[in-house]
Amino acid sequence: MRFAVLQFPGSNCDQDSVHVLGNVLGHDADYLWHKEESIGNADAVVVPGGFSYGDHLRTGSIAQFSPVMNAVKAFANDGGLVIGICNGFQILCECGLLPGALVRNRSLQFRCEHIYLKVPTADSPFTSEVPEGKVLRVPIAHGEGCYFADDEALAKLQSNEQILFQYATEDGELTDEANPNGSLLNIAGICNEGRNVCGMMPHPERASENILGEDDGRLVFESMLRHLEARADLGQEAISGVAFK
């Protein structure tokens, strides 16, 4: 599969993402500069973490107007898989592909540590490979990761099962102590209504190799790969179906 990993001025998790997708998982992963106007023949897009445009004005606020984002929006609206990690999540919220916004951590501190994630649903291209009940251990590193949405938007996220990751204890309990930034409903990651766009504050790309301490993050990318492969098989069947007629 081919992944496009966006690069904005100030992105800094782009190399980790390309490394994991390319060297660890063995797929094609290419950088895509933010001034490009097309995502080419990529099967999925990664909007990586970092501090695009120096976090000026608001996190992600300026990156949403980079030329490549028009192509990403069109790709996403067409059903393409897009994952935004950390600053990428902030960018996807700013550009309207995901509901809500990320504001200053309640503690006002930049939090850089390992946390635990409950995965409430396997019904998404980003969580399908996570075994039921498994709690993921992955790092966070952000100052503005407190998820906010109004009551109506939160109710919709819950009723559609769009909440994919929640800060939890090691045993998977949602507590205030386990919530590092004050996010409403302990939200660490969500998807859109179409379930093809995901944003998450934690960094799965920093937790995808045992040599680096843990590999729970791989499950997120493996879920995406499983989805893409299943879709490619369906495409093949559709094509051969046409050929037989």
Binding site: L57, S61, G100, V103, R104, N105, R106, L108, G182
Partner: protein, 78 residues
């Protein structure tokens, strides 16, 4: 001519900066502080006609300068 824009966090949004400033003011002995809200102030220098700028500044506030999900804004052009 300048557009003067004030952006404040919406009431429903947690404002830990405001809370921290409020606590500091109380510790300094300023009694009767009900709440503090920390926002942003922007000045945009403009040329041309103020009335024709008004809808454009409003649009810019909505699209870029503020995030309507978490912030309110108001502005004057003078």
């Amino acid at each position: 001519m300048k557009a003067k824009i004030v952006i404040t966090p919406k009431k429903a949004v947690l404002d830990p900066q405001g809370k921290t400033v409020q606590t500091a003011l109380e510790q300094m002995g300023y009694d009767g502080v009900k709440a503090v809200h920390v926002g942003k102030y922007l000045e945009i220098e403009l040329e041309g006609d103020a009335e024709s700028w008004r809808p454009k500044i409003d649009e810019a506030c909505h699209k870029l300068l503020s995030n309507p999900v978490i912030e309110d804004y108001h502005f004057t052009i003078e």
